[in-house]
Symmetry: C2
Subunit: 378 residues, 2 copies
């Protein structure tokens, strides 16, 4: 967003100048800001959002608006609570602190599901795991979850490897383990993934991926069972953290408030983008996401050199698409960059061998096609 | 910042439209954005800051720039580390987790110093305290800090009551207790307070007060002694937290990075405002702050009705000025609001009996005078 006359119509453009140098960010997150971000920022500044008190009525309205727009969009039932935190990584820590006295169980198939597991290890819990090789999903029927595990952690969409799990498998497991807390990472699949919130207990995401916002806000949705568990642990004298423990978060949520001064601007922006998504319709967004994903995977399946890292179609993420680059990732990234397309390298050990392409709601099909044309001529 | 032609010169104005409706926020924080915020946001968007990867070279540059500008401004010596977190409240939790195995000691004279204490209680530490009545400072010579206390917590500027402590008292205590970790809250006094960082071990602030930024970033400065303590606790098997424990923060700081996706935009903005402050000179900012504070306290001391809550001049905060409003705070706040001046109510139990006026670097003396004129006619 520029204040010069030249770009005064930026907000009306398909590709806002806000991403600088007319680049299209196909990175996994932070990623391209949503179409309308300039206007959103403009409206926030006009309303004085950066300056309003987080203890006043104006913030209460922002809180109410954002949570109700989110509730509508993700079809979140009554009995869920909306906790705003610093990052999705923080939400992992808070879930373990508040829902697990001794034992947690983790499905791991990449760096982010492993981070959830490691968080539990760091917090001195007995963290157990069921691992799948990178690029693969799980054979859930072979997973034995011990009776002693209090919380079971799933990563719907593994941001590192581009593997997605079928939510029906989670719901299936739920039938076998109805008394355990099911915690769901939807960091890189929200809002595209359709979650039946009656079959899980908590879910979390951050705003710099599918919502196209600047980073700095994590959202944790928890049901009453999570709250009750935290209260039980607290009553037992267990350390469940301080300002961001669930009982404290709940008390402030009831006042449409947060324990600390939160990222007010990001909460406002999240409400704004949820409204836009609701206006368009999440069903339509999901359909478009599938169409774009199909395009990219078909391209990779027919390419002579680049190949989808995830082989089995049922495991392929629709939002994080990982491609193997046999002659190294650097050249491919550079080539795309010359045409204004920014894609990310593979994660961790795959940095030099893969690229990762995001397919979020703000990524337009025309740009996907243009990007693939550049890749084709690679 | 508007994209319409009408406000295209907003960034050149003394009072940017970014605070909406031409209000001047004299609130304690979030407060008025710094003069130049529009331009800062504009430059961030042109550079694509909301979209850049937090694992890439561009972010490394932002990290380096912000920390070095901060280092220069606050005269922070070598051997200190820069940890970016979600809020100042979070930094309290991390200090206790990483620097305290069993016992902490707190100087309490208001809600925020109490929050630090409560954080230690929540984290199951034996938290000890030395309390002063609200509106008063401490007789430091009467404080007995037990040998067993590992960390001593000071709130330089009590945001709730407007009491400031003399840093010389802290340095005096340091001589008597050289082996304890001294933790300093400068949330509502940075960057105006002059801190001798060789005489403390860690300090923290948030950006929505003296830096005039939107909320959503806490900054924690820690020296090697804090790191060593955290490593010792970790080696002992103590829970020092997960992604934001000091050893993990240190490892990522060395790469000019953070463990999670941080509030990249706020880190950029902080560097921008530090540059502006450095350009002006912190000495000049401090002098101006004193002049404005003198003006406000002289006004209160001569007012027939409104009185400074803090009676002793040596305890009076220069940045958070609390006035008693014998006929209730609501009317005073309303009257000021009609003239475009936003001040905050008293904190907690003082909500209806006091107002709080911020005196930060972005508050111009002309506006302070105009605001006082309105108060005079009250």
């Amino acid at each position: 967003m520029s204040l010069t006359k030249k770009s005064s119509t930026a907000s009306a453009r398909v590709r806002p100048v806000s991403n600088g140098k007319r680049k299209i960010y196909f990175t996994i997150g932070p990623t391209h800001t949503f179409n309308g971000f300039d206007k959103c920022l403009d409206s926030a500044l006009k309303k004085g959002i950066p300056s309003i008190s987080h203890r006043g009525r104006e913030f209460e309205e922002v809180f109410k608006h954002t949570t109700s727009s989110l509730k509508k969009m993700l079809n979140i039932p009554e009995g869920f609570h909306y906790f705003f935190m610093g990052s999705a990584t923080e939400t992992m820590e808070r879930i373990i602190e508040n829902c697990c006295e001794k034992e947690s169980f983790h499905f791991i198939n990449g760096a982010f599901s492993k981070r959830f597991y490691q968080t539990a290890v760091d917090l001195k819990k007995n963290a157990m795991k069921f691992e799948a090789p990178a690029g693969e999903g799980f054979d859930f029927f072979r997973a034995h979850i011990p009776e002693s595990a209090e919380v079971v952690c799933f990563t719907h969409n593994e941001t590192a490897t581009g593997v997605s799990i079928d939510m029906d498998d989670v719901y299936g497991l739920r039938k076998s383990y109805p008394d355990k807390i099911f915690a769901l990472d939807i960091v890189s699949s929200a809002p595209t993934v359709k979650v039946d919130f009656t079959k899980i207990d908590c879910a979390f995401f951050s705003v710099q991926k599918g919502f196209g916002l600047p980073a700095g806000l994590g959202v944790l949705l928890v049901n009453d069972r999570c709250i009750d568990t935290a209260l039980e642990l607290q009553a037992k004298g267990i350390n469940i953290g301080s300002y961001h423990n669930f009982p404290t978060m709940l008390k402030t949520e009831e006042r449409k408030n947060t324990p600390e001064t939160p990222n007010v601007l990001a909460i406002y922006e999240l409400g704004y983008v949820c409204d836009l998504y609701n206006k368009k319709g999440v069903a339509k967004i999901r359909k478009e996401t599938e169409a774009k994903a199909k395009l990219i995977y078909e391209f990779l399946d027919s390419h002579s050199e680049l190949k989808a890292f995830v082989k089995k179609p049922q495991w392929r993420s629709k939002t994080v698409i990982v491609a193997e680059t046999p002659r190294g990732s650097a050249d491919v990234i550079k080539k795309l960059s010359k045409h204004g397309f920014v894609v990310g390298p593979g994660y961790g050990e795959f940095k030099d061998k893969q690229i990762r392409i995001a397919n979020f709601p703000m990524h337009e099909i025309a740009d996907v096609k243009r990007m693939l044309r550049v890749l084709k001529n690679k």
